[in-house]
């Protein structure tokens, strides 16, 4: 049993690119759900159009990389508008279903055999990330003992954490402003806001676009760091996990999504390594009759589920959340 390795992999994941993807997506969800109360369960869809926007432009249409990035950023905005115009009228729970359905539709279409020429079917697309990789200034990895990254990850992380930081600053600046106040009041009662002369639809649309844009950025970043887009990456499960990250950190808090994503991946990776080690080798820590190594990787997910439940039970407002706010609708 090598506890050092458990910690290393946990910390590396918490800081690594995968956590960044979740942080970016969760920042978007925070704008949607945390501040505006839009129950968007289709964040994976926003990510998918961002990623596919880039990949299709570069691979299928053979346009330059930077145009791909531009289109990847436009795509979630367009999706937000197309999706928002009809659905922003819906009540929160109906909106959730409409967005979940949209994300699934997108994913299925991206993966369909019928459109294989454009989207690459279930295999997805790859071969658009060269330019990004060529910019990598690091020639070697980093090993600080407790965290360890390869050169390409370091580059992804530099870009990724910069994006996350910029995102947080933007969210912070926006949410303390009257604009943010309008969003938060829409979360409480749309009609009241309307009666005060605010164009609720317009604000909701702005929030949907902004949050969707962060989703798109998460998707593009995902696509770049992994150098391939595959439709199954953008399933509902991803959105669930992103929500998990958001709520661990605490909704409607600027740093909530970031810290949440880090904790989520710390646990996912740490537990995975721990149980992987505990069940492998000639004389495993946990005897095989109790747990086989196949079961070990399942246990991690069981524990994540359990942890999520316990967190919500004992700290329903998340790490940063405000307990007082929750108590309001208690009765």
């Amino acid at each position: 049993m090598d506890f050092m390795q458990v910690l290393t992999s946990a910390f590396s994941s918490a800081l690594g690119p995968q956590a960044i993807v979740f942080a970016l997506a969760a920042i978007g969800l925070n704008i949607h759900f945390g501040y505006t109360g839009l129950l968007n369960f289709g964040q994976a869809g926003f990510m998918a159009v961002g990623a596919y926007g880039l990949a299709v432009t570069v691979v299928t249409l053979e346009f330059p990389f930077w145009l791909g990035i531009a289109i990847g950023l436009m795509a979630p905005i367009v999706l937000a508008i197309v999706l928002g115009v009809p659905t922003l009228r819906l009540r929160a729970d109906y909106l959730a279903i409409a967005t979940i359905a949209t994300a699934e539709i997108l994913r299925l279409i991206f993966g369909a055999v019928e459109y294989k020429d454009v989207f690459g079917g279930t295999n997805g697309l790859n071969g658009y990330a060269r330019t990004f990789q060529d910019f990598n200034p690091y020639s070697s990895g980093l090993d600080l003992g407790i965290v360890r990254f390869r050169a390409d990850d370091l580059w992804s992380m530099t870009v990724g954490w910069t994006l996350v930081a910029l995102g947080c600053i933007l969210v912070w600046a926006l949410m303390r402003s009257p604009w943010g106040r309008v969003l938060r009041s829409i979360r409480e009662d749309e009609d009241a806001v309307r009666s005060l002369g605010k164009n609720v639809f317009f604000y909701k649309m702005q929030a949907l676009i902004l949050g969707g844009l962060f989703g798109g950025i998460a998707g593009i970043f995902y696509a770049l760091k992994q150098a391939s887009v595959v439709p199954t990456d953008y399933s509902t499960q991803f959105t669930f996990f992103a929500y998990t990250a958001l709520l661990i950190g605490g909704a409607a808090r600027v740093l909530g999504p970031v810290v949440g994503a880090m904790i989520f991946w710390f646990l996912m990776s740490g537990l995975g390594t721990f149980f992987g080690q505990a069940t492998s080798g000639a004389d495993p820590l946990i005897p095989t009759w109790a747990m086989t190594d196949v079961q070990a990787s399942v246990v991690r997910l069981i524990l994540v589920g359990l942890g999520l439940m316990l967190l919500m039970i004992y700290r329903p407002q998340g790490i940063f959340g405000d307990r007082k706010e929750l108590a309001i609708d208690a009765r």
């Binding site: 390795q5 290393t8 992999s9 590396s12 994941s13 690594g16 690119p17 995968q18 299925l108 993966g111 369909a112 055999v113 294989k116 690459g120 079917g121 279930t122 295999n123 997805g124 790859n126 071969g127 990330a129 060269r130 990789q133 070697s140 990895g141 980093l142 090993d143 600080l144 360890r148 990254f149 390869r150 050169a151 390409d152 990850d153 992994q226 150098a227 391939s228 595959v230 439709p231 199954t232 990456d233 399933s235 499960q237 991803f238 996990f241 991946w265 996912m268 990776s269 995975g272 390594t273 992987g276 492998s280 190594d293 196949v294 070990a296 990787s297 399942v298 997910l301």
Partner: protein
């Protein structure tokens, strides 16, 4: 491989020669492909065991670290890959699904480790960035060959109007396409090609499409959902006893436990791989007595053996060195079929041509097999398979 503490800060986790050849397996333990995992893991474990029994590689026992590829939904593959690389993996055996492989291939190649998939059949690994045999290899024969064998088998049996029901993923799509092309070129018609999504909960409409096309044979390209689809085919009047049915490697398995006796009698299926002899199966069962399918076990086994032989040939356990030898040890040279035998030859300075349990394994320009042996099996009254023929072929 091994412990990389002494690697220094500048080349963290880069696959380096450290004397110990470490295999990382990135194969499905969770998620929707989890059923594919056990035989693959067993294949890897068996190979590792045999290698070490034969004295290991470069004088050291080889090491096997297990990783879970999940499915692409769960998104844990990149993370697990990091873990494997951190554990010093020089060769990563995996992933099973082409989609998952896509999500980690760049990561692995950038780390300088070999990625050796036992089950990727997608043609995209022979194209674009991955066309060169740099660090990516596979033992799964390309779908082109299996497609040829299948369509040939159907024509041989005089089928004129074949309906194809296939899983929508890189596996099902390519195979369906290859068989379809083969059939049409050889003068048969494809009555219908129908796909179902991996999340499908009911196959009624697809099965109805098949039935409506009035086929004289049904080709079912599926994984374990076969056990769900067959009864539905029966209900729709196009079950195996009404219309001749053909299986592929994904579903040519033992259904004595899961389907009613006699249901599959006469169904034919193909599995790439030379006669995966009973002996090999028995050895696998010693490793994992619970195995009920052997899909890709032989390919996994061979991937490990080939990498180990390449390491011996390169006299190094660094990924990039191994990669340079992998194609060589599979072709043009003294034929040998077991690790011990090949190792002896190599140590005697001979050029070898390893022929494995999954077939002759001649890896080509792109790191994929160019020759393979494909077995044809037929079901008996107990829904168990029996080999009827083995066909060798080239691409």
């Amino acid at each position: 491989g091994g412990d990389s503490d002494d690697d220094g800060g500048d080349s963290a986790a880069q696959s380096e020669a450290d004397g110990v050849l470490t295999f990382g397996s990135l194969l499905p333990q969770t998620g929707s492909l989890a059923f594919l995992g056990p035989p693959e893991f067993a294949g890897v474990d068996l190979a590792v065991e045999e290698i070490n029994e034969a004295g290991g590689v470069l004088g050291e026992d080889v090491v096997h670290v297990k990783g879970d590829s999940g499915d692409t939904d769960s998104g844990i593959a990149p993370d697990e890959t990091d873990r494997l690389l951190d554990a010093g993996a020089d060769v990563i055996i995996g992933a099973a699904s082409s989609g998952v492989s896509m999500t980690v291939i760049d990561k692995i190649m950038n780390a300088g480790a070999v990625m050796f998939s036992p089950a990727n059949t997608s043609t995209s690994f022979d194209e674009g960035d991955y066309a060169e045999p740099d660090l990516y290899f596979r033992t799964a024969p390309s779908d082109i060959l299996q497609g040829a064998v299948l369509s040939n088998l159907l024509i041989q049996d005089g089928k004129q109007n074949v309906a194809i029901l296939a899983r929508q993923d890189s596996y099902g799509e390519t195979l369906a396409e290859q068989v379809g092309e083969g059939l049409e070129a050889a003068g048969s018609t494809v009555a219908a090609t129908v796909f179902y999504g991996e999340n499908a909960q009911s196959y009624d409409s697809q099965v109805a499409d098949i039935a409506a096309s009035d086929p004289d044979a049904v080709l079912l390209i599926a994984f374990e959902e076969t056990t769900t689809i067959i009864p539905q085919l029966v209900s729709a009047g196009v079950g195996p006893q009404a219309v001749d049915t053909y299986f592929v490697d994904g579903n040519t398995a033992d259904y004595s436990e899961t389907l009613d006796a006699g249901l599959l009698e006469g169904v034919k299926g193909t599995i790439p791989g030379a006669d995966s002899s009973q002996d090999f199966k028995d050895r696998l069962l010693e490793i994992d007595p619970d195995l009920d399918s052997f899909a890709y076990a032989a390919e996994s086994y061979d991937a490990v053996i080939v990498s180990a032989l390449a390491a011996i040939a390169a006299d190094s356990d660094a990924g990039s060195d191994i990669a340079e030898e992998i194609v060589n040890v599979t072709r043009d040279g003294e034929k040998c079929t077991t690790f011990a035998e090949c190792k002896e030859l190599l140590e005697a300075g001979e050029d070898i041509d390893y022929d494995g349990v999954s077939g002759p394994i001649e890896l080509g320009e792109t790191g994929s097999p160019t020759a393979a042996s494909i077995g044809i099996y037929e079901y008996d009254g107990n829904n168990q398979i029996e080999a009827v023929d083995f066909i060798d072929g080239n691409i």
